[in-house]
């Protein structure tokens, strides 16, 4: 068996293109995940994350490209290979959980074993084990409709793991949960992965979720990969204006030294009375539009004279709406971007 793709890559996606009619939902996507690794597909709503996940699961057929999982080619447009979803051996947690309302919790969880022909006592035993791990052992006989959102999600997770798949896909696994539950679930998922050793691919539009869960991030922008790399790199280095905007930075067009954009964090925008001297940095004059209290600091929205609207966090000074200010950003806090 020849492994295609990078030497240690467990999931390989190469040149995948998917169209819906005239609309290109995925445009020539290439990335890989190492064995036991975690990757997050991150991007704003509608950028094609779910579509990518569905192509991986075999629920959608790309026009072009190559996908292999655990050394097995599951899709190859050139060779005409396209395995059915049931032959790819995955676990998937759906955005809507898709817990079947006509089955009990344990029947939901045991389903992957049932269709694999595992005997009834054996699959009951294994389903109980995994239910125990996700903390739902006491709910086995409940009807799936009698569960809360968080519990349904645990059922969906248990169902995706019960047959020990080598790759598990999570579509917005945490976005339907409240903040406290989300944090708890995030830790539990990490624990589960350490214990069971599967490779995980998370789809999310939430940067916090991606950073908390994944070691590698692929940031997507309308069907293309904008930035990819280690979570730390993608979050800290801001290589593109899209990434900078996505992570909440202020982005301005036209910048010194023939770069196309400059970007800076809200925290790094200091407000000064107009004309006050500054030593090292750029000065952007503007008018305060709004000021809102954010705990220790105030958040300002400022209309710059050059036309852009930026946001600034500043705790020291009180500027009222309508007042002229200078926004000052230190040189070393500026990101200069080509695209």
């Amino acid at each position: 068996m020849i492994r295609q793709g990078a030497p240690d890559s467990f999931v390989t996606i190469r040149n995948v293109t998917k169209k819906f009619g005239a609309y290109t939902a995925l445009d020539d996507l290439t990335f890989s995940v190492r064995e036991g690794g975690t990757l997050a597909l991150l991007g704003p709503s509608g950028c094609g994350k779910t579509t990518m996940l569905r192509c991986l699961a075999g629920l959608e057929t790309p026009e072009r490209g190559f996908i292999s999982i655990a050394g097995k080619t599951v899709f190859d447009s050139a060779a005409g290979v396209n395995l059915n979803p049931e032959d790819r051996g995955l676990g998937v947690v759906f955005q809507s959980y898709a817990v079947w309302p006509h089955m009990s919790v344990i029947d939901n969880v045991a389903f992957p074993l049932r269709v694999r022909g595992v005997s009834a006592p054996e699959r009951r035993k294994r389903a109980m084990e995994i239910l125990d791990i996700v903390g739902l052992a006491g709910f086995a006989e409940r009807s799936a409709t009698q569960l809360s959102g968080g519990q349904q999600q645990r059922v969906a997770v248990a169902r995706a793991l019960v047959h020990s798949p080598s790759l598990v896909l999570f579509d917005e696994a945490l976005s339907n949960l409240d903040a406290a539950l989300r944090e708890q679930m995030r830790l539990e998922l990490k624990g589960l992965q350490d214990k069971l050793g599967f490779t995980a691919l998370y789809v999310t539009h939430d940067q916090g979720e991606a950073l908390g869960l994944a070691e590698t991030i692929v940031l997507m922008n309308v069907g293309r990969i904008d930035t990819s790399g280690s979570a730390r790199d993608v979050f800290m280095s801001h290589q593109t204006s899209f990434a900078a905007r996505f992570f909440g930075l202020n982005v301005l067009e036209g910048a010194p030294r023939r770069k196309a954009f400059i970007a800076f964090q809200r925290e790094h925008a200091q407000l000064r009375t107009p004309g006050a001297p500054t030593d090292n940095g750029i000065v952007l004059p503007g008018i305060v539009r709004t000021r809102s209290f954010q705990g220790l600091v105030d958040e300002y929205a400022i209309d710059l004279d050059q036309g852009a609207l930026i946001r600034a966090l500043d705790g020291s000074t009180g500027f009222e709406p309508g007042v002229r200010v200078d926004v000052v950003v230190d040189e070393h806090n500026l990101f200069l971007l080509d695209r």
């Binding site: 569905r54 629920l59 049931e86 759906f94 809507s96 959980y97 898709a98 309302p101 047959h163 917005e172």
Partner: protein, 558 residues
């Protein structure tokens, strides 16, 4: 002050009138039937007796008829469940070409009359003389017997064709709205396409399938006209044709009533069981997030198969029978062969203008349909207001009671009305037909109007009241305009049902009050040309209703 009090009474009283009329229409005839079934005449004096019921349980003919009805019910139910679910799946879940058009076409048999369908099929495949046999025979030179349409199998075939749209209607909307992730989740976790259908899709459709199955079973087992057309002359009787026989040759209303009461009780028990069962498993199969209608791409053999199922269904239910009717209606004398050069409209002009029986029958049917639909929608509207807006303590009970006639066979209800009216001046008038029609079918209208009313927020009316409008003004200017699509849809539905109705008319008509379907029945022995012409005239009226229905459905969505 006194003024508001008076209006308040009207607001309570008017809907109550609708409810009381509805309850009387159901309970009245049932009590008449029950009383008659418990009576036995000894000389001049009626006596209380259970003899009629005792006879039911011992008579072989009754057992046979009941068994035959069960066979028809189960046969038609199974076939139409399979066909209706397949058709719904094909048009809602595959990319078969022309599926938007098929979505509408599949409903046409719903509006056609099974009785006319049966007549069409007799012309098509009657042993030796059917169009199929004669056209194949003209190639091979042999005379061919062909399939035996005059059999229970024939009845099941016709019933299945015409009740498939019921199943179709019940499952297409859950199929379209079901969260595709339910099936996707099964596939990615190892289930094949067919395993997913078996373990996920069908169980999720179960509430709709069960409702459809019950309706098709009860309606098929209780339908009078198709067995009458196909098997009655061969001595094979089902429950409704046996009731007919009990009333006519020789007349024994007591035994007929006992049979009718038994059927009614069984039907009610089935309906209540289904209600209880469904209320236990009410779950939502539409989850908000991540929902996308999922379309299976079908290619090659699967595509050909899907198209074949669609086309065979439409051809056998609509195209072929209508074609046969047209050929027969255009022939001066039907011999099993059509000769285009002899084609004539004589049959049409005769039944429309010259023959007093058929001319009167068409007028009667139109009168009954228009008046009946108007009366039905009126009392149903009032009932719906009571059910959705009233404050009555017995709303649940009234709701269940008003739904009862849905399953009771038309001929049984008309038997009860016959017993009720036989010694009154009502007997032999159009009025008794009208009452029986409305009594049997108003629940359909109540369902439709009630459903729409429940979707209209009461605040719309309350704000009108708060702004000084009286109840009557609020009804006129706010609620009725909002309800209009449902009222029109219910009216058209009743109109269509009444135009083709036979089971509820057969025991109540008299000379001069025949309807189109009755006239077809009376002429079916010897004047097939007239029958075909009448059938086509009826179909044109039904098709008009269907077209209106599609148009108003569109406006209801807008």
């Amino acid at each position: 002050m006194r003024d508001t009090k008076r209006r308040l009474t009207l607001q309570v009283a008017l809907p109550l009138v609708g409810v009381i009329i509805g309850v009387l229409l159901i309970v009245g005839p049932f009590i008449a039937g029950l009383a008659r079934s418990l009576m036995l005449w000894v000389g001049e004096d009626p006596q209380f007796s259970l003899a009629n019921f005792a006879w039911l349980f011992t008579d072989r003919r009754i057992h046979q008829a009941a068994l035959n009805s069960l066979i028809c019910g189960f046969g038609a139910m199974s076939l139409s469940l399979m066909l209706g679910t397949s058709l719904a799946w094909i048009v809602s879940r595959t990319d078969v070409p022309g599926r938007e058009l098929f979505k509408t076409l599949n409903l046409i048999p719903f509006f056609f009359s099974p009785y006319v369908g049966a007549i069409g099929w007799i012309f098509l495949v009657a042993p030796y003389s059917g169009l199929m046999q004669t056209s194949i025979g003209s190639f091979t030179g042999e005379s061919i017997e062909g399939p035996n349409i005059y059999s229970l199998a024939g009845v099941i075939w016709i019933l299945s064709l015409f009740y498939t749209p019921y199943v179709y209607l019940f499952v297409i909307s859950p199929l379209q709205r079901m969260d595709a992730a339910f099936e996707d989740a099964a596939r990615v976790h190892g289930a094949s396409f067919w395993t997913t259908i078996r373990l996920i899709t069908l169980p999720l459709l179960q509430p709709g399938l069960l409702s459809a199955a019950l309706i098709v079973f009860v309606t098929s087992a209780g339908l009078f006209d198709v067995p009458l057309a196909l098997t009655a002359t061969k001595g094979i009787r089902t429950m409704p044709t046996e009731v007919f026989a009990l009333v006519r040759y020789p007349s024994d209303l007591g035994r007929a009533a006992a049979f009718g009461i038994l059927v009614t009780v069984i039907t009610i028990a089935l309906t209540l069981w289904q209600r209880a069962h469904l209320s236990k498993r009410r779950y939502e199969i539409v989850s908000g997030k991540g929902y996308k209608p999922r379309v299976t791409e079908i290619r090659g053999a699967a595509r050909v198969l899907a198209l074949t199922v669609e086309i065979v269904f439409l051809t056998t239910s609509v195209v072929l029978p209508v074609l046969a009717l047209i050929l027969v209606a255009l022939s001066p004398l039907w011999t099993g062969r059509s000769n285009p050069s002899n084609a004539t409209l004589a049959n049409f002009s005769y039944v429309l203008f010259d023959y007093s029986l058929t001319r009167q029958a068409i007028l009667n049917s139109l009168f009954l349909a228009v008046t009946g639909a108007t009366l039905g929608v009126t009392i149903s509207g009032l009932q719906s207001y009571y059910l959705q807006r009233g404050r009555g303590r017995f709303k649940g009970l009234v709701d269940a009671l008003l739904a009862l006639p849905l399953g009771i066979p038309g001929i049984v209800l008309s038997l009860f009305f016959l017993i009720f009216a036989i010694r009154t001046p009502l007997y032999g008038t159009l009025a008794i037909l009208l009452i029986a029609y409305v009594a049997r079918f108003f629940p359909f209208a109540t369902r439709t109007i009630s459903a729409m009313l429940s979707a209209i927020h009461p605040e719309l009316e309350e704000s009108a009241r708060a702004n000084g409008a009286s109840w009557t003004q609020t009804m006129r200017h706010i609620l009725l305009p909002l309800l209009r699509p449902a009222l029109i849809a219910a009216w058209i539905m009743l109109f269509i049902i009444f135009i083709r109705e036979l089971g509820a008319s057969i025991l109540l008509y008299a000379s001069g009050t025949e309807t189109i379907s009755i006239a077809m029945l009376l002429l079916s022995e010897n004047s097939v040309g007239y029958v075909a012409a009448l059938a086509l005239i009826q179909l044109v009226l039904l098709l008009g209703g269907f077209t209106l229905f599609r148009l108003t459905k569109v406006s209801a969505i807008q």
